[in-house]
């Protein structure tokens, strides 16, 4: 196919900027809501932007080695790359990014890219807590991948395709075609997995934000940290876009995208503010129980009911 690379890259840059800004704003918005719930005022909307810029403009940095410096590079490459392979706005050539290069499997496997590189970068920091945090984070990841994989298999059977564009296309024509309503069991399993993916309570042991600062965010600073913070917003938004595309009918316009992703995110936040944190072995076991059962049920459901 004929690809106008320059235009593609330009369009992708545009998408990236929009999603990044949106991610940061949404982050701020959510923080303010949590603050209200907890009886505080909350941060100003500009705070995430200021954080990134502040870190970026710091005049000194400490480097533990080459891999240390490459860690944030991998991380943000992972975030940006994942977004690059997801069509953001359905039906829009401008905002379909590089989704012609690979399908859903590419996206799922590529999500590990950033995590792996980040883990290596934090490892060279020399701090054992970073390693502990990563060990916990990876272990948790393997377990929430199980219901997610089962849900993905279910929808692949349902829609008979791995192409994200086609999955979105099959969900057009009214909200009753969303996977949410045609295959709610798979969506339930996937949303439970999503709770693990976001890294909010009750699955935030690997960051342990309010207690012992642990893991990668503690070790990085200056420009490194600004890249990580940018990625946090970006990757978070990307995951939301992916879930929206797979389970909630995709978006034909930016406003629709923002509303849907905000609603999905609120689910995770609502759970997060209400529940305390699991211990890491508890969180690992959690996903192997009910969520996996729901995932298995979704495949059975699809095979017996939908594909007849």
């Amino acid at each position: 196919m004929e690809i106008n690379w320059l235009q593609k890259i330009g369009n992708f840059g545009l998408t990236l900027s929009i999603v990044l800004v949106y991610g940061l704003l949404m982050g701020a918005f959510i923080e303010r809501i949590i603050a209200k719930v907890q009886g505080r005022i909350g941060i100003p909307y500009s705070q995430p932007f200021i954080n990134i810029l502040k870190n970026f403009f710091k005049r000194t940095a400490v480097s533990h080695g080459v891999m240390f410096e490459l860690g944030p590079v991998f991380r943000i490459a992972g975030g940006v790359g994942t977004l690059a392979f997801i069509p953001v706005i359905f039906g829009s050539e401008t905002f379909s990014n590089f989704s012609f290069a690979g399908d859903l499997m590419l996206v799922i496997y590529f999500m590990f890219f950033g995590q792996l590189g980040m883990a290596l970068g934090a490892g060279e920091s020399g701090h054992p807590y970073a390693a502990i945090g990563i060990a916990r984070g990876l272990s948790q990841m393997t377990s929430y991948e199980v219901p997610f994989a089962l849900a993905v298999v279910a929808i692949v059977i349902q829609y008979d395709t791995l192409s994200i564009n086609e999955i979105i296309a099959a969900q057009q024509g009214g909200y009753q075609n969303w996977t949410l309503f045609t295959n709610p069991i798979a969506v339930a399993a996937a949303m439970l997995a999503f709770l693990g993916m976001t890294g909010y309570s009750p699955f935030d042991i690997f960051l342990a934000p309010q207690e012992i600062p642990i893991g990668p965010p503690t070790e990085f600073h200056s420009a490194y940290l600004s890249l990580l913070q940018a990625n946090r917003a970006l990757f978070g938004a990307t995951k939301l876009v992916l879930f929206m595309n797979l389970f909630f009918g995709g978006a034909t316009g930016w406003v629709e995208l923002m509303i849907k992703t905000w609603v999905i995110y609120m689910v995770a936040i609502a759970v997060g503010v209400a529940f305390p944190r699991f211990r890491v072995d508890q969180s690992i076991r959690f996903f192997f129980r009910i969520p996996t059962l729901i995932g298995i049920a979704s495949i059975v459901y699809v095979q017996m009911v939908l594909v007849r």
Binding site: G126, S143, I299
Partner: protein, 1044 residues
């Protein structure tokens, strides 16, 4: 003109010498001894000349007495089979006599008796008269009794006396039987009796035949009436024991063969007797610690096997096959057993544990190993060809129960024989033994003859020996040059393997060519890495050449026999190579046993295919028809055991981790592909279909994915680097097996693509591990740490290999996972696809662990000045990394040839849109992905570089307070590495409890207990033994329809 080489000369020489020796001994013992040796040599020469003449087509020689024709006189026959047995026994006798000469020459009587014993055996073989047979049996027995006892020790005398009791009872039975037969038929000539068989009828005839049969069987020492035989084996001197084992047994066995036509109704009983003896002797052998008694069990077992073969082939098979199979087994047994008894006689260590005294002596170990390998039926010795023929013949007649019995017995025999060998490989507490050339000579000659007869048998079996035996020639050549310096030998080995491999593989096509590139090219690349060690490494280079070349000949196999030959050769060489590791002898035995078990399953599978098609051509597998599920199940199970399939994997981690580091790389990257090759070739030719249900291929797919999952899970919890990589190999092979099980075009493309990739990844990882272990001196990951500063190239290599292996785009592992997932969804194997996701995720854990615990984190103080791995070890890694990067960007370069190679067997094609691969479900455009990922990676990198130019970046090292937990006085302690996934273990550790290990250990325990309880019949009491013999006869009588 007198024919000096006439067979009658044997008796003339023997009797003449027997007469003269006592006469001369008084005046000149030296002369008497000289006469003794000359007579024996003459007997051997005559027999040998006769054998070669008959083999060349001369007619049998009949010797009549007093010029009167039978049946009125006794006649001797010297036919082809007689000549073989006589030659073999005489030669063995000569060698035994030379071995034992220092003791034999002490008395005239012993010299005389020895020659008479040999003559008696020859007579047993040649005579055609029943009563004459009895006479010769008695002659042999008398000589044997006396020789047993002449050393005069108490245990010897008591054993000899039990021998007398037992054989006297047997002889009595024989005489009674002869009498009754004469009563009914009126003749004593065997040929006449057989011609007038119908006259032997009624209860009298029945009893007569059974008496005769019992007598012959008792002489062959069947279980449970063989306690007396074992006592003799245990106590008698090596030479005498060897003659009883191979000589007397040969004579009695041939006698049984001669009268076998009379026992037409009893063939099943005979087979059962032989089979029980074979199986149970080998079970009991498991518990035996005494060397000679162990050899006794093995002897009795082998004779049992010969009896089984004789009876079953007589009943069901063809005469020519009988000759080849039984003859092959006999020669094998004779040479190997005699060699071992003689070796035991000179090494003179009673317990098998004490055989550590021969450790480190290459020639001794070679002779020892050759004899043992021949006994098990490993190539290239005659026993291999004979066993192949036997199993095929039994399969044609649907006698799978017997096949199982024979193979299980062989496996047990391998267990205790190679346990003994293992003791000989490790230096222990006992003082080393050095043998002179004359002491070693008889056993060495036996070993050499085994090799020669193996070659001859091979030519009879219809294979092309030059090509097939190439690995052995290469190994032999390098063995002779084993005294050269290490690196020189390594270069020589690389040259030989490269040249030999290319020559053998020159005509390969399609699938075989693809595997050829991996096995030959990959093998040579790995072999180059062995240059990093400069020490002598005795035995390593010959064996490695043998292994790599046998992998090559595996590829060129046209028939299942050639395939199996190369397969067993690969098993043998890889076992020996594993034992060369530091502490590897103990884990090598389970490796050998599981490999042999898998080889026996493959043998049975091929036999079943032969039974269905009548041909051993591999392409003929296509016409197996209804038997496809059975054949496929047997073969697939065999291959999957060798690949470390789940449940049969317990040998894998130990063997991989204890073997030499560079050899572990070869085991994992190269040799494991042989199982995949076998699976692919067999499935390709069989034309297996894969549907859901209790379908063999679906089960295979599940086995593959379970192996992948549990291999990954078990790898997560390992502390030892090589064990982790071993479990990882096991897991990755599971994916490949599942891919093959799909039996679809895309599935096979995925499987072969993953095969190539696995070779690359694991090659890099194991070589990198070898480098790290070489520098740090430890295998344990928690003793390392922070090595990224010292070994950056190794780190990069490991990192790229790990990213690729985990399936993260853009590197090549992703393609394999993607294609596998697509293929599984196409087939409707949804659960397997989900399991695959899970095990992929788990694989991340251990991959990250390697990087974190070895290269990142805190460095130990003693590793401060560690150097990078040797360049010769890095070079293959760099090459393989370059290939990985190439394949990641342009997978089409590999996928198209794979698709073309597979298309003849599993029709289909890959659909391309330019560089993008399209399937029914999705699409994958590797070059574009590579560019995009490269782009999104380079941009932040450049950005960061620019930023670092504008700000002040301060590098910190290990003892800076910022680097590690603000604990600068002992940062090396705060390396999180031990029990890295303790939390994971707490959460799901119950999944990886060592259940398989417990199962197999229990199986071993139960076998030992069984062995102990089966010894209940060995009371050590001569009267009890006599009673058992009587009971044996009664049991045989009632078993064959006798009435009270």
């Amino acid at each position: 003109m007198v024919d000096l080489l006439h067979p009658l000369g044997i008796y003339i020489l023997a009797l003449g010498a027997g007469f003269l020796i006592p006469l001369l001994y008084g005046s000149s013992p030296k002369l008497a001894t000289g006469l003794f040796v000359t007579a024996l040599t003459g007997m051997a020469v005559i027999a040998g000349a006769g054998f070669f003449a008959l083999a060349g087509g001369a007619a049998s020689i009949e010797i009549e007495t007093a010029g009167i024709a039978p049946p009125f006189s006794i006649n001797l026959r010297f036919g082809l089979y007689e000549s073989l047995f006589v030659f073999a026994v005489n030669l063995a006798g000569l060698l035994a006599a030379l071995h034992y000469l220092p003791r034999l020459r002490e008395q005239a009587a012993t010299l005389l008796l020895f020659i008479i014993m040999i003559m008696g055996i020859d007579g047993m073989v040649m005579t055609r008269d029943l009563f004459n047979l009895f006479i010769f049996i008695e002659i042999t027995s008398l000589a044997t009794y006396s020789l047993i006892g002449f050393e005069g020790r108490e245990d010897l005398l008591s054993a000899g006396f039990k021998y007398i009791i037992a054989t006297s009872v047997a002889s009595t039975f024989f005489l009674l039987g002869t009498a009754f037969i004469y009563y009914q038929t009126g003749t004593l000539n065997i040929d006449d009796i057989i011609a007038n068989q119908s006259l032997i009828s009624g209860p009298v005839g029945q009893v007569a035949l059974l008496l005769l049969l019992t007598s012959l069987l008792i002489e062959l020492k069947p279980y449970p009436a063989n306690g007396w035989g074992l006592d003799v084996y245990e106590t008698a001197p090596g030479a005498i024991a060897s003659m009883i084992s191979v000589g007397v047994s040969a004579g009695v066995f041939f006698a049984l063969y001669k009268v076998l036509p009379l026992f037409g109704d009893f063939l099943t009983s005979i087979a059962v007797v032989g089979g029980i003896t074979f199986l149970i002797s080998n079970v009991i052998g498991l518990k035996q610690e005494n060397v000679k008694r162990l050899l006794g069990y093995s002897s009795i077992g082998q004779v049992g096997l010969l009896v089984v073969a004789l009876a079953l082939l007589q009943k069901y098979g063809q005469q020519t096959h009988l000759a080849l199979i039984v003859g092959g087994l006999f020669i094998n047994h004779l040479l190997a057993k005699a060699g071992l008894f003689w070796l035991a006689g000179v090494v003179q260590r009673e317990r098998i544990k004490d055989w550590s005294s021969i450790a480190g002596q290459p020639l001794l170990l070679l002779v020892f190993g050759v004899c043992l390998a021949a006994l098990i039926g490993l190539p290239p010795f005659p026993g291999f060809w004979a066993k192949w023929g036997l199993v095929l013949e039994l399969a044609v007649n649907n006698l799978y129960g017997w096949i199982a019995l024979i193979l299980v017995g062989s496996l047990l025999e391998a267990a205790y024989l190679f346990r003994w060998f293992g003791h000989a490989l490790r230096a222990g507490d006992t003082a080393p033994v050095t043998l002179s050339v004359t002491e070693l000579m008889p056993s060495a000659v036996a070993a050499a003859l085994l090799a020669i007869t193996g070659y001859i048998t091979a030519t009879h079996a219809g294979v092309v020996p030059l090509q097939l035996f190439l690995p052995l020639y290469a190994a032999a050549a390098l063995f002779l040059l084993d005294g050269l310096p290490g690196r020189f030998k390594s270069l020589l080995m690389i040259a030989i393997v490269a040249a030999g491999g290319v020559w053998v593989a020159r005509d390969l096509q399609g699938l075989n060519l693809i595997f050829g590139i991996i096995l030959v090219g990959g093998g040579v690349l790995m072999a180059v890495a062995t240059l990093y060690r400069s020490d002598a490494r005795k035995g390593f280079y010959p064996l490695l050449a043998g292994l790599l070349l046998s992998l090559t000949t595996l590829l060129t196999a046209q028939t299942s026999l050639e395939f199996f030959f190369s397969w067993e050769l690969m098993t043998l060489t890889s076992y020996l190579l594993v034992t060369l590791g530091r502490d590897a002898v103990k884990p090598a035995l389970p490796y050998l046993l599981f490999s042999l078990g898998s080889a026996f399953l493959i043998l049975t599978g091929f036999a079943a295919a032969f039974a269905a098609t009548g041909s051993t051509e591999l392409t003929a597998l296509g016409s197996v028809g209804d038997a496809v599920p059975v054949v496929f199940s047997l073969l697939a199970l065999g291959f999957i055991i060798k690949a470390g399939g789940f449940g049969f994997h317990i040998w894998l981690p130990n063997a991989y981790s204890e073997a030499d580091d560079d050899f572990s790389a070869i085991l994992s990257a190269v040799m494991s592909k042989a199982s995949i090759f076998g699976l692919v070739i067999v499935a390709a030719h069989l034309g297996v279909r894969a549907d859901i249900g209790l379908d063999a291929a679906y089960v295979l797919g599940w086995m593959g994915m379970l192996t992948a999952t549990f291999g990954a899970l078990m790898a997560v919890f390992q502390e030892d680097l090589k064990r982790l990589l071993a479990y990882s190999s096991m897991g990755q092979l599971g994916y490949i097996v599942a891919g093959v099980a799909l039996m679809s075009h895309l599935g096979w493309v995925a499987a072969l693509y993953m095969t190539v990739n696995h070779f690359l990844f694991k090659g890099v990882l194991f070589l990198a591990a070898a480098g790290v272990i070489y520098r740090t001196g430890t295998d344990l990951m928690y003793k390392m740490g922070g090595l990224i500063k010292n070994m950056p190239v190794t780190f990069v290599a490991v990192m790229i290999a790990i990213i690729a292996m985990s399936g993260v785009p853009p590197l090549s592992g992703f393609g394999g996972k993607w294609m596998l997932f697509n293929a599984m969804m196409d087939k409707g194997w949804y659960w397997l696809a989900a399991v695959g996701f899970f095990s992929s995720a788990v694989a991340f854990l251990y991959m990250f662990r390697i990087l974190q615990t070895v290269f990142l984190g805190q460095r130990k103080l003693e590793h401060k000045d560690l150097q990078e791995a040797p360049a010769i070890l890095l070079a293959p890694q760099v090459i393989m990394l370059a290939v990985i990067m190439l394949l990641s960007a342009y997978p089409k370069l590999l996928l198209d040839p794979l698709s073309v190679a597979i298309a003849p067997y599993v029709p289909g094609a890959l659909v391309w849109d330019g560089w993008a691969l399209e399937t029914h479900l999705g699409y994958w455009n590797a070059p574009v992905i590579m560019m995009i990922v490269g782009g999104v990676w380079v941009v932040p990198l450049v950005f960061l570089l620019l930023v670092s130019l504008t700000i002040k970046v301060q590098p910190v090292k290990q003892f800076n307070i910022v680097y590690a937990a603000e604990r600068p006085h002992r940062p090396e302690d705060t390396h999180y590495a031990y029990r890295f996934f303790a939390h994971y273990e707490r959460a799901i550790g119950f999944l990886v409890k060592p259940r398989a290990t417990a199962f197999w250990s229990a199986a071993g325990e139960w076998s030992h207990t069984l062995a102990g309880s089966l010894r209940i019949f060995y009371t050590g009491n001569g009267q009890t033994y006599a009673f058992f013999i009587l009971v044996y006869f009664v049991a045989l009588y009632f078993a064959n329809g006798g009435t009270v």
